[in-house]
């Protein structure tokens, strides 16, 4: 079971907000520091490793830029959203970031609540209210990439790409 402090975000959070053009060609560390700089300045300092994001519809809309990698690098434990953009979901799989589509999550959590995710029972709970939700299932093959560090370690094992020096 993973317990995480909740940060609330609204609908249609796009990847430009998570990875602004000003750091697009920069290092992973520079990119992580710029997350939500335009819409929520200071968030990267206020959040702690192991926190969760709870959001509304179409999280991760827009550009393919590797925003899921930045959230993973910041130590965000998981994302709950009413719906997740297809391209952002794929990047979450491939960068090893746990992203769950979970109808009702926006109403079920307030900022600062604790969100408990139990991968075994595939349930999300709010211990303050007792609310329990079931995220959309994720196919086994994709879930194992998401929980196992993403696709690069897998590709290294298969001899498709070289290990990072």
């Amino acid at each position: 079971m993973i317990a995480a402090r909740v940060w609330k975000f609204g609908d249609d959070i796009n990847t430009d907000l998570m990875l602004p053009g000003s750091v697009m060609v920069k290092s992973e560390a520079d990119q992580a520091r710029a997350v939500f700089a335009a819409n929520r300045p200071g968030w990267v300092d206020a959040m702690r490793k192991g926190d969760a994001i709870v959001a509304g519809r179409n999280f991760g809309m827009g550009s393919n830029r590797p925003a899921a990698r930045s959230l993973r690098n910041l130590g965000v434990a998981f994302l709950l959203a009413e719906s997740i953009n297809g391209l952002f979901f794929r990047n979450s799989v491939n960068f090893g970031f746990l992203a769950l589509e979970c109808a009702g999550c926006d109403a079920a959590f307030a900022e600062g609540d604790t969100a408990e995710f139990d991968p075994d029972s595939w349930t999300v709970r709010n211990p303050r209210t007792g609310a329990a939700l079931t995220p959309l299932p994720i196919p086994e093959r994709l879930l194992s990439l998401m929980q196992g560090g993403g696709i690069y370690p897998q590709m290294e094992k298969e001899g498709l790409i070289a290990p990072r020096r």
């Binding site: 907000l17 393919n64 001899g159 070289a162």
Partner: protein, 421 residues
């Protein structure tokens, strides 16, 4: 039970008789495009094996010519990669330069009836040529390059039946803004375009409409094949292909009629493209600092022609910058031959080399604090084109050009008043 176009192409690429919404299809990738962003030091991983170099296209596009050392390093890595694997279709800085989606369309690399991937979200533009094309992000393109495969979750499809003909001065961008304003996002859905009015949309107009499908958050955006499309592809790519047509009893989530005659020029207000469209008149008079025409969506020859028609014999208003970025150097040269470049430059526009440039807030047109821009490009998100306090309106190239001349947001209607539909 019949299949729509996206389902047919995915089933064929998966080597199966049929696919249906909700299933995961593991498919053969016909064309895999890599861009300069793949090769940035933060993202690049050394590839050891490649399934088939003939299926790979490499295009340097986001920051060309290089705007800083990290970008230049990415370009160097791309050149070494292309050499090592003997990739013939390489678009470096120079004559063959352009935005990947534009280059792919200019050369008909994405064949009808096949699957194409590229990291970039606007890859769906390949659907203008009946190709199931989709942005899949940086890691997935490396997987596709090495294995020749990828996966898709099959989505439901919304079908648009186009009818009639656009009025003079109304463009594909206005059609998109109409759809985005009236129907909103199409998350996890495919979009299929067809119907009798499709023949009245130029291939360039279809390119714009297919590219902008990314802003509907659609998965695949695919046009039905017609003679104009197939002739264009055959003239540019000798490879055999079989276009995909929908079955008569294909299943759609919804079928919507779209009367092209009824569409008026629109503007999207800042910060969101979807559900944010208003008639030009509603924002006419708003001050602007910059006007931009370009990107994979609006750097076609039709777009440059519309801009040139508006500014011909006039001057960009004092205090306003008009920046025009053709989608590829091939289009740049066509625009030069047609006289558009001279017309634009004489009016005071800066015509840049082909690149993603200002659209992605990269270079050649980045916005400063508090500035206002009207853009004919792909996105108007907060901070998209530079400082987060800048405000970005989105409209057609004609409306953007008319605004640059007026020095404030303005309708282009008068410039097209004498034209026949």
């Amino acid at each position: 039970m019949g299949m729509n176009i996206a389902e047919k192409i995915l089933a064929r690429a998966a080597g199966t008789r049929r696919v249906a919404p909700g299933e995961i299809a593991i498919v053969e990738v016909g064309t895999c495009v890599l861009t300069d962003l793949n090769f940035l030091p933060a993202s690049w991983r050394e590839v050891l094996r490649m399934r088939d170099p003939a299926r790979v296209v490499v295009v340097l596009d986001h920051m060309v010519p290089a705007n800083e050392p990290l970008t230049a390093a990415a370009h160097t890595a791309a050149r070494e990669f292309v050499k090592r694997f003997g990739i013939a279709r390489f678009h470096d800085v120079g004559r063959d330069q352009g935005i990947s989606h534009v280059v792919v369309a200019d050369n008909a690399y994405g064949l009808p009836g096949t699957v194409m991937v590229n990291p970039d979200s606007h890859t769906c533009g390949g659907g203008a040529f009946n190709c199931a094309a989709r942005g899949v992000g940086l890691p997935e393109t490396l997987y596709a390059v090495t294995t020749g495969q990828t996966w898709f979750r099959v989505g439901e499809t919304v079908r648009y039946d186009l009818e009639g003909r656009l009025k003079p001065g109304v463009s594909a961008k206005d059609v998109f803004l109409h759809i985005a304003g009236r129907w909103g996002a199409h998350v996890n859905q495919n979009v299929e375009y067809g119907g009798p009015g499709m023949a009245n949309l130029s291939l360039n107009a279809r390119r714009t409409l297919a590219i902008m499908g990314a802003e509907l958050s659609a998965e695949f955006v695919i046009f039905e094949p017609d003679a104009a499309m197939l002739d264009y592809v055959r003239a540019r790519n000798p490879a055999p292909f079989e276009a995909a047509v929908p079955d008569r009893d294909a299943i759609y989530r919804e079928r919507r009629r779209l009367a092209l005659d009824a569409i008026e020029p629109l503007v999207a207000l800042p910060d969101s493209v979807v559900g944010n469209s208003v008639p030009v008149g509603q924002v006419a008079g708003e001050r602007i600092d910059q006007a931009f025409i370009g990107s994979c969506a609006n750097g076609t020859l039709d777009d440059l022609a519309a801009a040139a028609k508006v500014v011909a014999g006039r001057r960009v208003a004092p205090g306003v910058r008009l920046i025009v970025t053709p989608g590829s150097q091939a289009i740049w040269r066509e625009a030069l031959a047609a006289g558009y470049v001279a017309t634009l430059a004489e009016a005071g526009a800066v015509v840049t080399p082909a690149t993603c440039g200002a659209c992605v807030g990269g270079h050649m047109g980045v916005l400063g604090p508090g500035e206002v821009c009207i853009t004919a490009s792909t996105r108007n998100f907060k901070g998209r084109m530079g400082d987060p306090s800048a405000r970005i309106y989105m409209a057609s190239p004609a409306t953007v050009a008319a605004s640059a001349i007026a020095g404030r947001i303005a309708s282009a209607a008068d410039y097209f008043a004498g034209d026949l539909g």
